[in-house]
């Protein structure tokens, strides 16, 4: 029981690295997309990411919530020691979300360029800071307790910096592969080629960093090094490396779909390797078993998780199906609407407006419910509240749907107003 949540946390972390990572990387590429052609690349990036970034972001929330619910002391030790990088990541997340919102209001290329700069900056900052956090945990620098670790060296160290930089490079690579595939779907071959080139560069950089990793870990985080160079940890490490090389080869051959799967495998394998290398301890001196919340708490979360998945999985599949089938692409022809306003009016329901009587009745129901709520206690009050709320909803529908006395002469304000 104690291990199930940590497996889910690692799965969530892998999903966040792959999906959220592509999102962060897209920001980095906006930084390199300048000038005339840059605008096309930025537009493409924004269009691909805007519908999914919020959903991609939720994985992080999962990881946090699962961690604090199932391993509360370990979570609290980690966040209180690694306060600085976590706070920086938080600020990065605010700036990123804001720049997505700001894009909605930008009108000129100049404005859009500035917003893009903010977006790019925060897109690099956030995964880097989160990588520092992972490095602090992996190199045993978080002791159990409220802010017991060093405020600075817990995240300013070789392992943290390695993982921070690697996180940015991986994000850049994942994003470029994703965007190349997306561009090809939209038949923008030159955009696809531009991102293919970027994917190859980022892939090679990420590969070099990953190859340098063992040397840094050997001196800075010997426990993780031992775990990753023996037994199951070694298998995971080698699998990750092999998948990474395969992904790069697939990008070179322009087989982006397969490349994404291979890249995701590489990320998943290294996250799994970390988990295998670190177990059975979650923090120095604290095993997973000792850190775990009681079975009742974990069971409750797992039940909630299972029920949630039943709703989430079909929803997520629906979103990705619409997205990957190109339904939201600008080139897709819009769904045919009514040919003219007259046709639309003809299809309208003649009883579309509510009557005065309905409005008064629903108002009376609301008032009755309010009266019962006011004078009673216990179960009767619940009846009153229910009646009041149902009445209020019905009353809104009725009052807002009343026909207007005056005829709607001017549908829209004239331009000069």
């Amino acid at each position: 029981m104690a291990e199930i949540p940590i497996v889910l946390i690692l799965v969530g972390l892998a999903a966040y690295t792959v999906l959220g990572g592509a999102d962060f990387g897209a920001g980095l590429w906006e930084l390199t997309a300048r000038g005339e052609r840059g605008a096309a690349l930025r537009d493409h990036t924004h269009r691909s990411m805007a519908p999914v970034w919020e959903a991609n972001h939720v994985w992080l929330i999962f990881v946090l919530v699962m961690a604090w619910t199932c391993y509360p002391e370990a979570f609290s030790s980690i966040v209180s020691t690694l306060t600085i990088p976590l706070f920086v990541a938080g600020v990065g997340i605010i700036l990123r979300g804001s720049s997505y919102a700001l894009r909605a209001g930008s009108a000129t290329p100049r404005e859009e360029g500035r917003i893009s700069l903010l977006f790019a900056f925060s897109s690099v900052l956030t995964p880097f800071a989160l990588g520092l956090v992972v490095g602090g945990i992996a190199s045993n620098r978080v002791p159990v307790g409220n802010a017991q670790g060093d405020e600075i060296t817990s995240w300013f160290n070789g392992t943290s910096l390695l993982i921070g930089v690697l996180a940015v490079a991986t994000a850049a690579y994942l994003a470029a592969v994703y965007l190349a595939a997306d561009a090809r779907r939209m038949d923008s071959e030159d955009v696809a080629e531009a991102f293919r080139k970027r994917a190859l560069i980022a892939g090679v950089v990420a590969g070099i960093l990953a190859a340098a990793g063992p040397f840094i870990l050997n001196s800075d985080a010997p426990d993780i090094y031992d775990g990753l160079t023996s037994g199951a940890g070694l298998v995971a490490l080698l699998a990750s490396g092999a998948a990474g090389v395969t992904a790069l080869a697939l990008v070179a051959k322009r087989r982006y779909g397969a490349a994404r799967i291979a890249a995701a495998t590489a990320v998943a394998a290294i996250v799994a390797g970390w988990g295998l290398a670190q177990q059975p301890e979650i923090l120095p001196g604290l095993t997973i078993d000792e850190a775990a919340a009681s079975d009742t708490a974990i069971t409750a979360v797992l039940i909630g998780f299972a029920v949630g998945l039943l709703i989430l999985v079909p929803s997520l599949l629906y979103l990705f199906r619409l997205l990957l089938s190109g339904r939201f692409d600008p080139a897709t022809a819009p769904w045919p609407g009514p040919a003219s306003a007259d046709e639309a009016a003809a299809s309208a329901d003649p009883n579309a407006h509510s009557s005065l009587r309905t409005a008064l009745i629903t108002g009376a129901v609301t008032a009755l419910g309010a009266g019962i709520t006011f004078v009673s206690d216990g179960p009767l009050r619940s009846v009153g509240v229910a009646l009041m709320l149902v009445g209020a909803v019905a009353c809104f529908l009725a009052v807002a749907s009343l026909d207007e006395a005056e005829s709607p002469a001017v549908p829209f304000p004239s331009p000069e107003q």
């Binding site: 699962m66 509360p72 307790g145 006011f374 009041m388 549908p411």
Partner: protein
């Protein structure tokens, strides 16, 4: 590592900046809650407008729904990140609280996470799906956005209700044991009124804020069908909600009187336990027996005074009392304004014409936000000095890390920037020509 050692690792720490930590948390909530109102109430108004378009064929409804859905998405984006900051801060600022009780209430946030996920997925489908999905399907994709807005706030409020009225665990050597997360979160007598109070507030805030903006245009002479429709929908929502809120508020106050008597006493600064307690309205009007009547619906009821607990266990009375009175006063004014609107709308089938009504409406939007914040301060500062009422003090929950003032200042600057950005976005979106959101017929022709 033995369990008691783990627990003692989260004992009280020295934290010079406890007040700053609380203010930082409060600032983050103040930034987030108005956005929550839009997350909860706005989807329903947008979907209502689209539904009216389907029913009546009137293109204005569709233009309005499209226009509003873009604003909804922008506000949702900001709400996503300000909400994320809150979950970061729970750990960053209050590790003692999380270490001890994370397993008791974490279930609520797990479920909230799923709600939020569903909301994020369908809000994207809805907003990017205009003209890309069959009309009926598009309308239906709005429904999960409404529902997940309700469930998301439900789960978060379940946690807050638990903090105010904790149950579902036992304390043993500073550790929560024998925990029952389902009972703690959902078997709580505080949950229902807090939820309904917040939910109704969301409609008041979203409705009046929208009405403020369109009311301004009305006063400037824009009586177009578009502006009238926007005003009708937003004002009707707020006007139905505002009187209901008075009754819900009474219900909330009566529950607080039973479960958190000290919080209630600080609403009225009642020092001594009194039978037939009076109610003071500043400046200096005293209504005999009124507090007893309000809190227990009985003029002779005994109301517990502040002096029944040591001074250390009392909340900062001045802040709580001021917030409470502010909330009640604004709430009552909004309900009066709502009554005027409903009367004219139902009797005369039009919008009110008095300039004073529109001036009041323009003020009502910002005032409703003030009432919202005041209500939140009432319940959360009224909970002090406890983070978990009667069980854990806020000072025992705080982090031992340094640098709180730096974090506070940084976040204040960032949020000021975000506020400026939100205003800029809204102005920009409002300035776009309505033709951009006009019906498909013309768009199809232009695109084809």
């Amino acid at each position: 590592m033995p369990l008691d050692l783990i627990a003692s690792a989260f004992g009280p720490v020295q934290q010079e900046y406890l007040l700053e930590a609380r203010q930082m948390q409060a600032m983050s909530f103040v930034a987030h809650i108005p956005l929550v109102c839009f997350g909860v109430a706005f989807p329903a108004l947008v979907v209502f407008a689209e539904w009216r378009h389907h029913r009546t064929g009137d293109p204005v409804y569709r233009t309005l729904a499209r226009r509003w859905s873009k604003i909804m998405l922008a506000l949702f984006a900001v709400g996503v990140v300000s909400g994320t900051i809150l979950s970061f801060e729970l750990g960053l600022l209050w590790p003692g609280f999380m270490a001890t009780f994370g397993d008791v209430f974490g279930l609520g946030f797990t479920l909230e996470g799923f709600s939020f996920f569903i909301e994020a997925i369908f809000i994207a489908i809805y907003v990017y799906g205009w003209d890309r999905l069959p009309p009926r399907t598009h309308l239906l994709t709005g429904i999960p956005v409404i529902l997940s807005g309700i469930t998301g706030s439900f789960f978060v409020i379940a946690v807050n209700a638990w903090m105010n009225n904790p149950s579902g665990f036992k304390m043993e050597n500073g550790e929560a044991v024998d925990i029952d997360p389902w009972g703690a979160l959902f078997g709580n007598s505080y949950l229902a009124h807090e939820m309904v109070h917040m939910y109704v507030a969301a409609y008041i805030v979203a409705g009046f804020l929208l009405a403020s903006i369109y009311g301004w245009q009305w006063l400037k002479g824009n009586r177009s069908h578009y502006v009238r429709t926007a005003l009708t929908i937003s004002l009707t929502a707020a006007a139905v909600a505002a009187p209901v809120q008075l009754i819900v508020g009474d219900w909330a106050a009566r529950t607080v009187a039973e479960e958190q008597p000290i919080k209630l006493a600080s609403f009225e600064d009642l020092q001594e336990t009194t039978k037939g307690a009076p109610f003071d309205i500043p400046p200096g009007i005293e209504i005999p027996d009124m507090l007893s009547l309000l809190a227990f619906h009985d003029p002779n009821a005994t109301v517990t005074g502040l002096d029944s607990v040591p001074a250390d266990d009392r909340p900062p009375v001045g802040i709580v009392r001021t917030s409470f009175l502010t909330m009640v006063a604004i709430g009552s004014l909004l309900a009066a304004l709502a009554a005027v609107f409903l009367y004219v709308r139902v009797r005369k089938r039009r919008l009110p014409e008095s300039r004073w009504f529109w001036r009041a409406t323009i003020v009502a939007g910002p005032l409703s936000v003030v009432a919202l914040i005041a209500g939140w301060v009432t319940t959360e500062v009224g909970r002090q000095p406890w983070v978990v009422y009667g069980v854990m003090r806020t000072e025992d929950a705080v982090t031992g890390a340094g640098g709180i003032p730096i974090g506070y200042a940084t976040l204040a600057i960032v949020y000021a920037g975000v506020l400026a950005a939100v205003i800029w976005i809204l102005r920009r979106l409002a300035a776009r020509p309505l033709a951009e959101d006009a019906p498909t017929a013309t768009e199809g022709a232009a695109g084809g």
